[in-house]
């Protein structure tokens, strides 16, 4: 068994022992989705059925919302000395962090599956074929991977589990300042420009185009570039912090 497999098994056990955390990270995006689709969404004129408009953004929200659990878990390993224990053993340096990233992705997959299920229950329909859906899943996983590394870095750097959880709040808020809920052009000046140029908007647009059956190559390429950038930044930051902090 490789070091990474051993670490991953540890993270899986954590997930199984702490079902409340998983439930929490699934529940909140569903509540938001139901709220916007049923209560608020009717007031927005987005040109299509609101649930069809909102679903891609909700997939992204489901990914982001699960990150606070990851940040807290990583930080608790750091501050309780468990990471130091592994560091003074002849254990592969990246194994602990890889374990956390993969566990975070697994939590994301559960949340994404739940949110898509709820979307269908609320009347979401998509003309996308198998390729389109594979694209959606692939992009969602890539996003989950890159923000996962970023969150691990955040968790390693934070002073305490509480600040680590707080540190992931901007990631949860970013989808609200993107085209997730309403199109960017309907926002005020300043916010509109921010929404247009922040990384989550092209990712949502790419997901939306895939689900609509009309893939937007430009948005897809921009999304891949953002994901690669975030993953690289998160990875370098995480490894540096891991090696330095004792």
């Amino acid at each position: 068994m490789s070091d990474s497999t051993i670490m991953l098994r540890r993270n899986f056990k954590h997930t199984l022992r702490n079902p409340a955390a998983v439930f929490n990270s699934v529940l909140f995006p569903i509540v938001i989705m139901v709220m916007f689709v049923y209560v608020i969404g009717g007031a927005f004129d987005v040109g299509v059925d609101y649930v069809d408009y909102a679903t891609p953004g909700m997939i992204l929200l489901a990914v982001c919302y699960g990150l606070s659990a990851t940040a807290t878990a990583v930080n608790s390993d750091m501050t309780k000395g468990i990471i130091n224990r592994f560091k003074v053993m002849d254990v592969s340096r990246g194994a602990v962090l890889t374990g956390h990233v993969v566990a975070s992705m697994l939590n994301n997959v559960i949340a994404i599956a739940a949110i898509i299920g709820v979307a269908f229950a609320l009347g979401f329909r998509s003309p996308a074929g198998l390729t389109g859906w594979l694209g959606v899943i692939g992009l969602a996983l890539l996003l989950s991977f890159s923000v996962g590394w970023f969150t691990v870095a955040l968790g390693l750097s934070a002073k305490s589990p509480e600040t680590a959880g707080l540190g992931s709040v901007p990631l949860v808020m970013l989808p609200f300042f993107s085209s997730a809920i309403v199109p960017a052009e309907k926002m005020g000046t300043g916010v509109e420009q921010f929404a247009e140029y922040q990384p989550f908007t092209p990712i949502i647009e790419a997901l939306r185009s895939l689900l609509a059956g009309t893939p937007d190559t430009g948005a897809l390429i921009t999304s891949l570039a953002w994901c690669a950038g975030i993953a690289l930044l998160g990875y370098v930051w995480a490894i540096r912090t891991f090696n330095r902090r004792a």
Partner: protein, 312 residues
């Protein structure tokens, strides 16, 4: 080379302008207990962190288990075990799963798990999540995890801080057993008594410098606090008694004598016999045993409590 477990020369570490270690030299023979004694903020944990490859020193050379710490960090890691100041155990796993995790990572035999649980009196709690363990149980599990893979050298950073007296005794017994099995122990502590009880050699660390090094007996000889105090009725009988007691010194009050001694019954009886033979008797006798404060006062000219207050 084989008789030296840890060899440190000219170790330095600073964080910005704050010097934490200012040229440390240490030599720890294999199969012995070495104790680094000092107050909070003296640099004990920094020393352990450097020796266990967690952080890098700014200067100095270190060999652990005969290997260069920087060039052969992985080989060093494979031969050491570390138990830090706070139990680094996984709360969501059970005691047994924590040990199994170490067995998996060290590619050891799973058979050791049951033995370690038994040895540390954790068998009954083995299937419970560690979150439910008491502080003493967590420390024991932490140490048990460190022992998986039979490390040659074990670093214990304040292993008994915060433990109740009974758990502290248990920990001492465990440490003695380990050394009997041929392991080398590097122990840091704030308690002179602990170092005295366990260590073959003690080094006293103060503000990043070693102010003394030696066996517990050698060290205590440097401490004026280790004495029997005799109070006499008047200065005349005090000075008369002083002539019968070699090594006795008179306090400023003129009626109190300090006689170096360990307070053991044999030396006390000897002392009392001498007074009898001399035909004098003391009004009051008290045995003054040295503590860390005395060591610090003697070695640095400052009280370590004052020290703590100024570094916080």
């Amino acid at each position: 080379m084989s008789d030296s477990a840890i060899e440190v020369a000219g170790l330095r570490k600073a964080y910005g302008t704050r010097v934490v270690l200012d040229g440390i030299d240490l030599h720890v023979p294999s199969g012995t207990i070495f104790s680094l004694l000092g107050p909070n903020g003296a640099g004990k944990t920094t020393t352990v962190n450097i020796l266990t490859t967690l952080i890098r020193a700014d200067a100095g050379s270190v060999r652990v288990a005969g290997r260069d710490l920087i060039k052969n960090a992985r080989e060093v890691r494979a031969r050491i075990g570390v138990t830090g100041q706070f139990a680094a155990v996984d709360d969501l796993l059970t005691g047994q799963e924590n040990l199994q995790l170490m067995v998996d990572l060290k590619r050891a035999d799973s058979a050791v798990v049951a033995g370690l649980l038994e040895r540390f009196d954790l068998t009954a709690a083995a299937q419970k999540q560690v979150a439910t363990y008491s502080g003493g149980m967590r420390r024991k599990l932490d140490l048990a995890m460190t022992l998986v893979g039979a490390p040659e050298i074990i670093f214990l950073d304040e292993p008994t801080t915060g433990l109740d007296p009974r758990s502290r005794r248990t920990m001492w017994d465990i440490i003695r057993d380990l050394v009997a099995g041929g392991v080398t122990i590097f122990l840091t502590t704030q308690y002179l008594e602990e170092a005295d009880q366990l260590a073959d050699r003690i080094a006293v660390l103060d503000q990043g410098r070693l102010v003394a090094q030696g066996t517990p007996a050698e060290l205590k000889r440097q401490i004026p606090g280790s004495h029997v105090r005799l109070r006499f009725a008047d200065p005349a009988s005090a000075s008369s008694a002083a002539s019968a007691l070699p090594g006795a010194t008179r306090d400023e009050d003129g009626v109190t004598l300090r006689v170096p001694g360990d307070g053991g019954t044999a030396s006390l009886r000897d002392l009392l016999n001498r007074l009898d033979e001399h035909g004098t008797h003391a009004e009051e006798l008290s045995v003054h045993t040295p503590d860390l404060d005395d060591v610090f006062l003697a070695l640095t000219g400052r009280s370590h409590h004052a020290e703590e207050a100024s570094t916080r």
